[in-house]
């Protein structure tokens, strides 16, 4: 049963979970495939099973491993993660606007009423983003040392 919903663009069918059923089933099948492959490969009787001390060592090009592998790592990796977070969230703000702004599906009424405002809002948004980007560049965040 389809429920109609009125949006600024016109009449649309409401969200229905049934559109996602194929993905849910597919997800189950894919998980089953991945887990099943691992279990089958583990349980296969044909394969050799001769664990030795050297085989069970961490691989360090044939040498005996030196020290632990739980190393401290450079803070610049964390910095990249933070920058990613900032820019990716900015991008996510732009997606809804990109869908509704100029597409054929958005209504003419919406565009005359709000299109200009939305455009200049996004311009200001991008200008702030560009300013932050310039600051980060001069600060040296993007230079990998």
């Amino acid at each position: 049963m389809m429920l109609p919903v009125q949006t600024p663009a016109g009449l649309e069918p409401a969200f229905e979970l049934s559109a996602y059923y194929p993905i849910l089933i597919y997800a189950a099948v894919v998980l089953l495939f991945a887990v099943g492959t691992l279990i089958m490969s583990h349980a296969l009787p044909l394969k050799p099973r001769k664990p030795t001390r050297v085989k069970l060592m961490p691989y360090e090009s044939g040498m005996d491993p030196v020290g632990t592998a739980r190393l401290q790592f450079d803070v610049k990796f964390a910095l990249v993660a933070i920058m990613f977070l900032i820019f990716d969230v900015e991008l996510l703000f732009l997606y809804p606007w990109a869908v509704i702004a100029f597409g054929a599906d958005s209504s003419e009424a919406w565009r005359t009423a709000l299109g200009g405002t939305a455009f200049w809002t996004v311009v200001v948004f991008l200008a702030v983003l560009a300013l932050a980007y310039y600051y980060e560049w001069r600060k040296g965040t993007f230079t990998w040392r």
């Binding site: 394969k47 360090e60 597409g103």
Partner: protein
Amino acid sequence: MPVFDPTTTAILIVVLLAGALGLAGYLVLSERKIAAWIQDRKGPNRVGPGGLFQPIADGVKMFLKEEVIPAHVDKVFYLLAPIVSVSTALLALAVIPIGPTTPPPPPLPIPSGATPAQLVDQLQRQQAEYQQQTSFVLAPGLDVGILYVFALGSLAVYGVILAGWSSNSKYSLLGCLRASAQIVSYEIPLGLAVLGVILMTGSLNLETIIARQTEHGPYWFILFQPLALLLFMISLYAEDNRLPFDLAEAEQELVGGYHTEYSSMKLGLMLLAEYVHLVISSFLVTVVFLGGWSLFGLEALLGDTALTAGLKVCILCGKMLFLVLFAQVIRWTIPRFRFDQLMNLAWKVLIPLGLLNLACVMVVLQWGLPWVTLTGTSLLLLVGAGYLSTRWQGSVSVPRRKVVPLPPGLPPGVTFAPQH
């Protein structure tokens, strides 16, 4: 929304899974054959005619190898990593069109004077008509389309981090750190590049994106967004850890990178995930920039619907295969970047270019200029960036170490001068 049909779903799932697995196997073969061709060797040629059964032999070998789980690993996460990798890779196939598609109908405009009952009736008829159409997509009409693919691409980072961290080995840790920094950095230019196309289509749905490129003739977005296509492909290769961006598993320095400690089918699943990523990226480029199943009206020559559907599947998959082979040739054409070059390329070149390109698209669409303007601005930005890079001592193209010319008068064959 199309009606959920278990039979079609089951058939499509089988086709997708079998296709992805078979294709991944044969892509390994083509990768080795292309490598051999470029290096003037023969490549695998013992199993079957011309090595055609090599993928099967490889698969059997993967299954029969000894399952080594090293003593030092974090077992739960170590075993979880291949599962996460391969499932996130395969799941992204769910919204990718693999053949002819019908876009979901646009919202019904509401004229003044129409009664609600009439409108609802009209909407129901429109939806019923849409449900008659066949779409070669597992989940058709999904309005999040491309965001879903990006979301799963981001989740792929977890497979890498889990594998590298739980392996408790130095090579794995270094590989996973590099891979995660690289994947998150290139996600941003990827999103920026595709934003321009989304502005032009006004939909995230992949079927609609194809329809916008085909409904008024072959208006492929490669024509209007060549710069975005370039940014998109570069970012995709980096996301997939393809050469020239395979710093995460640079064989000469990190052995296998994050899957150094993996063996048998666990390694098999990791490698499968990589090739599935490559296939999905190629499908995405085909659908978003290369017009999906259209080929200059050639697809409409056959009148018969079943034949046309087959032809469209062939065209779409042919384009995809071409892009995959292109990636494999690129692998042997461009040498690997250094890690600082890689990060600088993402943050200092691709992101500003993506932002400028987005600004151009915004301005052109807001003032209703013809789309051809965008081709001009794209090319202008590309040439401008190239010009700037020659004027400006950037860190991408210039070596960081100081290069000192040798003093004159050295005998031939001497390549360094002793410091006094």
